[in-house]
């Protein structure tokens, strides 16, 4: 695997090559696809390594690649203020067990963004302190950003909760 001139990918391949499944730098965005079970390790390493210092988890989101398998990809965008660099970490998540480790112990910003991913994609984050829906309401049925959720689908009316 190549590091595409990115210091983040180079260090990642040096220290934990077994966790990295694929790398690319399409359009200049350094990207590593990592083993789903090692996501927390990879994020922790990127945050704590003195050469990298990715101190900010800018964004967490997911992509539904139906009908491809594994179906989902969870995408993390990291930014390093001291080094002024970005890197993208992705993990492939299968439809049958849509789960992976939460990044909340590492980055507080992951809290709401992982809630949003759970809400809209139905991907669970193990170890999340408060995995409730974020944008939708508790009675909502299904996860609307999944590709098999029809856009016109109606939801049952809900009354006020007691």
């Amino acid at each position: 695997m190549e590091d595409h001139g990115s210091p983040a990918l180079r260090r990642l391949l040096e220290v934990m090559p077994e966790a990295v499944e694929e790398t690319h730098a399409y359009l200049g965005d350094a990207t590593a696809i990592v083993d789903r079970a090692r996501v927390a390790d990879v994020l922790g390493f990127l945050r704590d390594d003195p050469d990298l210092e990715f101190d900010m988890l800018s964004d967490v989101t997911a992509v539904d690649h139906l009908p491809r398998t594994p179906r989902f990809e969870v995408v993390y965008h990291l930014y390093s203020i001291p080094k002024n660099r970005r890197v993208r970490i992705k993990a492939r998540v299968p439809e049958q067990t849509p789960e992976l480790a939460s990044a909340v112990p590492l980055y507080a910003s992951a809290n709401w963004m992982e809630r949003e991913v759970w809400d809209l994609y139905g991907i669970r984050f193990d170890g999340h302190p408060d995995l409730r829906r974020l944008l939708l309401y508790d009675e909502f049925e299904g996860h609307p950003l999944r590709k098999d959720y029809p856009k016109e689908r109606r939801q049952p009316l809900t009354g006020p909760r007691n």
Binding site: Y26, L27, M56, L57, Y107, S109, P144
Partner: protein
């Protein structure tokens, strides 16, 4: 005769008064918060013990709608993310699509985009500061702020044809060039806005009540900002000079002379000062843009790329090939090469990112908007722990959560 015994009544006056915590529901529609959001506040007397913020009341399925239309059809939705600065979301989205298409826009277009972005940023900051005054019961500065914002929106209207939902930026360019009398009128706007900002400053900045309500309230540390990925004026108010216009310059920001104001302690007052100074800097940028645009002279504002540029109307009406191209452009739009890209710009609230994934078709596979409003709101419970209930209002004002962008 013995007094009647009332069950549950304890007449021991020596005992401590019984206290309990109160749960207060504030919102989703409350006159002192602009934006639809619900606070579930646990109060001990007047102090906030716990705060749960429930967002999502304005969720309209932005991503789902974008994934159902062409790449062009998402642009009007981006207008409706942040009603204060629609242009900034337009610019962010169009630049992200251009990144995927590998398009470089003409120089004149880039300067016009910067000009429109900064007018938007001024309008956004004016709303934030003006509305904060209004919610602290100061009507006069609110009107100064709103007068200046109306002037900014008037100029956006001259430029784009619409005050709020501008829909001005196009993939590979802008809708049309600025009108010839725009620079003169815009210079008058700059002078008038400086006057209004002076009036605003006179009434507010050293006003005793305003200072008392803002100094030392809603404090957040630089480290907490970074842990929560908070960007924009909130992060800069803690002293961290992160501004993507400087750090990772896009468009022509590297050719423009402007400063990034920072605060010291990260309280509401610092945020206010940062926002006011950013408006002055934006006015400087607008001046430079006008001068540069006049120097550049007339030129193309759209990239000459048949994938995204629509043919001229006269040719569409008279020639077959252009008619076909127009038809294909409208019904299908550009086919974006398979791949993914993330592009972030500095919006008025912080890092506004667009992460786009294309499967090679004319319909986006994924349009993710990284909303600064949502991410900046997440640390609010920590900022208010132990604070007075009344501090919630200015803190929420200066976080400047815009429901449309937060809930998408």
């Amino acid at each position: 005769m013995a007094l009647p015994v009332i069950p549950g009544f304890d007449d021991d006056v020596e005992r401590d008064l019984h206290t309990e915590r109160q749960i207060l529901n504030m919102g989703p529609s409350h006159p002192a918060t602009h934006g639809t959001v619900k606070f579930l506040i646990e109060l001990d007397g007047e102090n906030i013990v716990n705060l749960d913020i429930q967002v999502g009341y304005l969720h309209r399925g932005f991503e789902k709608e974008c994934e159902a239309g062409t790449w062009y059809q998402a642009i009007p939705y981006t207008d409706r993310l942040n009603y204060n600065s629609a242009i900034l979301a337009n610019v962010g989205y169009c630049m992200a699509v251009e990144k995927l298409l590998g398009i470089e826009t003409p120089e004149r277009c880039q300067w016009i985009r910067v000009l429109a972005s900064e007018l938007s940023r001024i309008a956004d900051h004016l709303t934030r500061c003006g509305a904060a005054c209004l919610e602290l019961q100061a009507m006069t500065p609110f009107l100064y702020g709103i007068e200046a914002r109306e002037l900014a929106w008037d100029h956006l209207e001259i430029l784009c044809g619409a005050r709020v939902t501008s829909n001005y930026i196009r993939i590979g360019g802008v809708k049309h060039d600025m009108p010839p009398d725009f620079p003169a009128s815009c210079r008058a706007f700059i002078a008038k806005t400086r006057e209004l900002l002076k009036d605003f400053d006179d009434v507010v900045t050293s006003n005793r009540i305003f200072v008392d309500r803002l100094v030392g309230t809603g404090v957040i540390s630089r480290e907490d900002c970074i842990r929560y990925a908070v960007t924009g004026p909130i992060l800069r108010s803690t002293g961290e000079p992160l501004d993507l216009r400087k750090q990772q310059p896009y468009l022509v920001y590297d050719e423009i002379d402007f400063d990034v104001p920072v605060g010291e302690v990260g309280d509401n007052y610092d945020r206010y000062l940062v926002c006011v100074e950013e408006m002055h800097q934006s006015l400087r940028i607008v001046e430079q843009c006008l001068a540069k645009l006049e120097k550049l002279g007339p030129g193309p504002v759209n990239v000459m790329d048949p994938r995204v540029l629509w043919p001229a109307k006269g040719r569409v009406f008279n020639r077959m090939e252009e008619l076909i191209q127009q038809f294909k452009s409208v019904t299908e739009g550009p086919r974006v090469p398979e791949g993914e890209g993330y592009l972030a710009i500095e919006s008025a609230n912080g890092e506004l990112g667009f992460y786009l994934v294309s499967d090679g078709s004319a319909v986006p596979l994924k349009v993710r908007c990284r909303p600064p409003s949502l991410i900046n709101l997440a640390p609010m419970p920590g900022m208010l722990k132990g604070a007075l209930l009344a501090d919630l209002i200015p803190t929420f004002d200066f976080i400047n959560m815009i429901g449309g962008e937060c809930d998408r």
